[in-house]
């Protein structure tokens, strides 16, 4: 995503970066700065050293406008400067009473996160209450405020610009009386958890699927890994062994001509701008002899049962015949 060409005369315009390319935005900022610096340097070759100031000023302006997008401590009432890329807005409010509250927030893209905590006043009804915001357990500097009691509640709010993967974490508002609300930011979780392994056979093929919930139009990037919790190895499509087919919200890894070495854990990762989620799938490879053993056992049992039943029947019918003959003989004797 390359920004429009930045020239010296276009300093005042926005750096047009798409919202979900935070990292790309920073990169393009740097690229734009590089380009303008190169152009300025080029001009500098011909002009006099007095135009150093001419060089510095646009570069400085460019830097500050790029740097502005990283700001967190923005007063919500102030309109953001025009150079901040247009992010989606997400607002969350929590009302606290006496217990801590945890709120899970699913992020699929870069957002401007507007968080608000309202603490209901208890019997004391103190006129003022101090509170602060923390991130991942550590207090954010310059965030401690004293709020006044308003309509039986103490309210505190803050805007967070979630513009990169590093910004994703747990944000909390903590009040003086130790009551807190935790907002856990995370990429979307996989809905289906497989606890059973996928079983397949040597020399056979198997398809490992991964599906993410979401809207129809969403298009995700998918990556596959093989390994375990600590060490994962990226899988790239090799024509005779792996085949990866990804489409929007689903991705399929096809393993061809399985061997015992192919068994183990496979991870599919759905990549979002704010991070990626992994889903483990276990693959088990066995030979065909394994299910054949119980099958043959059942077959033998069936044959035995059938033979036993027929033998019993033959015996019973023989008994009846001999009994019948005896009866006939008796009857003849009587006659």
């Amino acid at each position: 995503m390359r920004p429009d060409g930045i020239t010296n005369t276009e300093m005042s315009h926005d750096v047009t970066v798409k919202p979900d390319g935070g990292r790309a935005g920073a990169r393009s900022c740097a690229a734009a700065a590089e380009r303008s610096a190169r152009r300025s340097r080029g001009r500098r070759m011909k002009t006099m050293p007095a135009s150093w100031k001419l060089l510095l000023l646009p570069t400085l302006l460019l830097m500050t406008s790029c740097g502005r997008t990283d700001t967190k401590t923005l007063d919500p009432t102030q309109t953001p400067p025009a150079s901040v890329p247009p992010l989606a807005d997400l607002k969350r409010e929590v009302v606290l009473k006496s217990e801590n509250v945890t709120e899970n927030i699913e992020l699929r893209q870069l957002v401007r996160l507007f968080l608000e905590c309202s603490l209901t006043a208890d019997q004391n009804k103190l006129p003022n209450m101090t509170a602060f915001w923390s991130r991942d357990g550590q207090e954010i500097p310059d965030s401690r405020l004293t709020v006044a009691l308003e309509k039986e509640q103490y309210g505190i709010q803050r805007l967070f610009n979630i513009t990169s993967e590093e910004k994703v974490g747990t944000y909390s508002c903590v009040f003086e009386n130790k009551v807190r609300a935790d907002f856990v930011l995370a990429t979307p979780r996989f809905r289906e958890k497989r606890d059973k392994p996928v079983v397949s056979y040597v020399h056979d093929f198997v398809v490992l699927p991964c599906k993410m919930e979401g809207s129809e139009n969403e298009s995700l990037t998918w990556l596959w890994f093989k390994g375990n919790e600590t060490h994962k190895e990226r899988i790239s499509a090799q024509p005779d062994r792996f085949e990866i087919r990804s489409q929007n919200l689903t991705s399929r890894l096809k393993l061809i001509n399985l061997t015992f070495a192919d068994a183990g854990f496979y991870y599919c990762a759905a990549v979002y701008a704010v991070g990626s989620t992994m889903n483990p799938i276990k693959l088990k490879v066995i030979t065909f002899w394994e299910p054949l053993k119980p099958f043959i056992a059942i077959l033998i049992a069936v044959v035995l049962l059938v033979v036993v039943i027929f033998l019993c029947e033959k015996q019973q019918s023989k008994k009846k015949v001999t009994e019948g003959n005896e009866e006939n003989v008796d009857q003849n004797n009587i006659k």
């Binding site: 996928v198 079983v199 490992l208 699927p209 054949l292 119980p294 069936v302 049962l305 059938v306 039943i309």
Partner: protein, 521 residues
């Protein structure tokens, strides 16, 4: 094969059988509660003894027949991923299997009449086993359609038809109980196969599981081995004589006539002249149309009401568990002397109960209520299915039952395949499950009401016809009359047992070809 004896050596069973055509209507009209008459035969069914082992065999056979298409759906997700098929393509496997199982009815009934139940069930079991084993090597979805769908469906069809027929041969006075016990095989095997399939899937994958399932279906052969043909006390030579007569008449007919009779063997359209049969068929069709859709959509409905997925799956298990006990229970109740004469009404009542359950379902919003609904659904479903074939046996009698059941199953094929998709269409159109339940409940309830009302009319008209015939019967007839009274006299002691039911009792009949061919087994 026995050599056909000369026609004049006959026993009572042959005499009455000879008069089939002319006397049919007369005997039919004489029955009040069970309009179908079969030919009089002096060998009454054992009603016990080895019959209970036959019930065990039928239990296994019917159990596999009804539960396999449902239990296979556990493998579908894995198969779908491996073979790259869509959900609807996968669902066709079950549909083809069910369709073949029902549509193969007439073929199966002809084979059962020809060869007896035992060889057919053994062949059916072998076919099922082979189908599953070949399916485990499948590489494409069409291969699975052929192996599981067609071959498996054929095998199950043979099983079902033959098992029902042999019950009708072994039991008369305890027949509702035997039917209830045999039909209980369906929920028992479903309860047993579903977790087993899950376990096998986790250990062996879908290929290994299909292989092992094939081995288990070979147990149908054991069930078949148990189905000893009924031994006749009647002189079997007379039966052979009858066959001789049949073959001579066949030779005399023209080729076209022979073709027609052969065709009529498969689909005997003379059944459609029987009023009781038509009533049963229509009521049954309405029931089958609405019966399966609620089962298919119950968990989805529960999830939409806010129940979590595991609990929603339990609802179906609850229904199956209740069903397991209700079927034999219903058989026991239907066997009692108050209900048995009015068994057709009891059947209609069971259908109305089932329909009422579905109509009340949309009001069930909490999980506790849904569990209650599942319990009552199980009760209603079990009651209907315990009686569904018993009523047909009651209507048709022993002789005509195999062909009748073949005809009924092939006609039932259509509502069974159309029901769930129509219900699904309703859900798609309105986005709400309640219309599905309203539709199913309404159709089933009207089917039940139809049965009750039409049966009242039917028996009323039968009584009128009987009164007329009693008047007309004063005129002397040939030796047939003796045959009738002789068999009736013989039935007096049995009548005392199952008193009000057998006012004009059904005839337990002999298996036409039983002693000739099945003796070799």
């Amino acid at each position: 094969m026995r050599k056909p004896e000369r026609p004049h050596e006959h026993c009572c069973c042959r005499a009455t059988r000879q008069a089939t055509g002319s006397r049919w209507k007369e005997v039919t009209s004489e029955r009040i509660m069970s309009p179908a008459a079969t030919d009089a035969a002096e060998s009454k069914p054992p009603d016990g003894g080895w019959g209970w082992m036959v019930v065990v065999g039928a239990h296994i056979s019917i159990g596999f027949a009804y539960s396999t298409p449902k239990a296979l759906s556990i493998f579908f997700k894995e198969i779908q991923e491996d073979l790259g098929a869509s959900s609807s393509e996968i669902a066709w496997i079950s549909s083809i299997m069910l369709a073949v199982m029902y549509a193969g009815g007439p073929v199966s009934s002809v084979l059962v009449k020809r060869f007896g139940s035992r060889p057919i069930v053994i062949v059916g079991g072998l076919m099922c086993g082979v189908s599953m084993v070949t399916a485990s090597f499948g590489r494409s979805i069409v291969y699975l359609y052929l192996s599981i769908g067609i071959i498996g469906g054929c095998g199950l069809c043979f099983n079902l038809n033959a098992s029902l027929t042999i019950i009708s041969k072994y039991f008369l006075s305890k027949r509702p109980l035997a039917n209830g016990l045999a039909m209980a095989g369906s929920p028992v095997f479903l309860c047993f196969l579903a977790p087993l399939n899950q376990f096998l899937l986790g250990d062996f994958g879908w290929r290994g599981s299909l292989l092992i399932l094939g081995g288990m279906m070979l147990n149908c052969c054991v069930a078949g081995a148990l189905m000893r043909p009924v031994t006749l006390s009647c002189n079997p030579s007379a039966v052979a004589a009858l066959k001789n007569m049949e073959t001579t008449t066949k030779h005399n007919m023209s080729k076209k006539g022979r073709c027609l009779t052969n065709a009529r063997q498969f689909l005997d359209f003379s059944f459609f002249k029987d009023r009781g049969f038509i009533i049963y068929l229509m009521g049954n069709t309405m029931y089958i149309f609405g019966a399966y859709a609620p089962i298919v959509f119950l968990s989805a409905y529960a999830v939409s009401q806010g129940v979590e997925e595991y609990s929603a799956a339990y609802l179906l298990s609850i229904m199956g568990f209740v069903d397991m006990f209700v079927r034999p229970g219903t058989g026991l109740i239907a066997n009692s002397k108050w209900i048995r004469p009015r068994i057709q009404y009891f059947f209609g009542f069971a259908m109305i109960f089932n329909g009422a359950c579905h109509l009340l379902c949309p009001m069930m919003t909490s999980y506790a209520f849904l569990v209650g609904y599942a319990v009552f659904f199980g009760v209603g479903f079990g009651m209907v299915f315990a009686l569904i074939f018993e009523c047909l046996m009651d209507l048709m009698g022993n002789q005509r039952f195999p062909s009748a059941v073949g005809l009924v199953t092939i006609i039932e094929c259509f509502p069974m395949l159309l029901g769930p998709p129509t219900a699904g269409l309703l859900v798609d159109l309105y986005g709400d499950y309640k219309y599905l339940f309203y539709m199913c409940g309404a159709v089933i309830m009207s089917g039940g009401l139809f049965l009750i009302i039409m049966n009242i009319l039917h028996y009323h008209m039968l009584e009128k016809e009987k009164a007329e015939h009693n008047g007309a019967r004063r005129s002397p007839e040939t030796g047939n009359q003796d045959g009738v009274s002789l068999s009736e006299a013989q039935r007096e002691p049995t009548e005392a047992e199952s008193a009000p039911m057998n006012r004009d009792p059904q005839d337990p009949s002999t298996d036409d070809t039983g002693p000739d061919i099945t003796d070799h087994f």
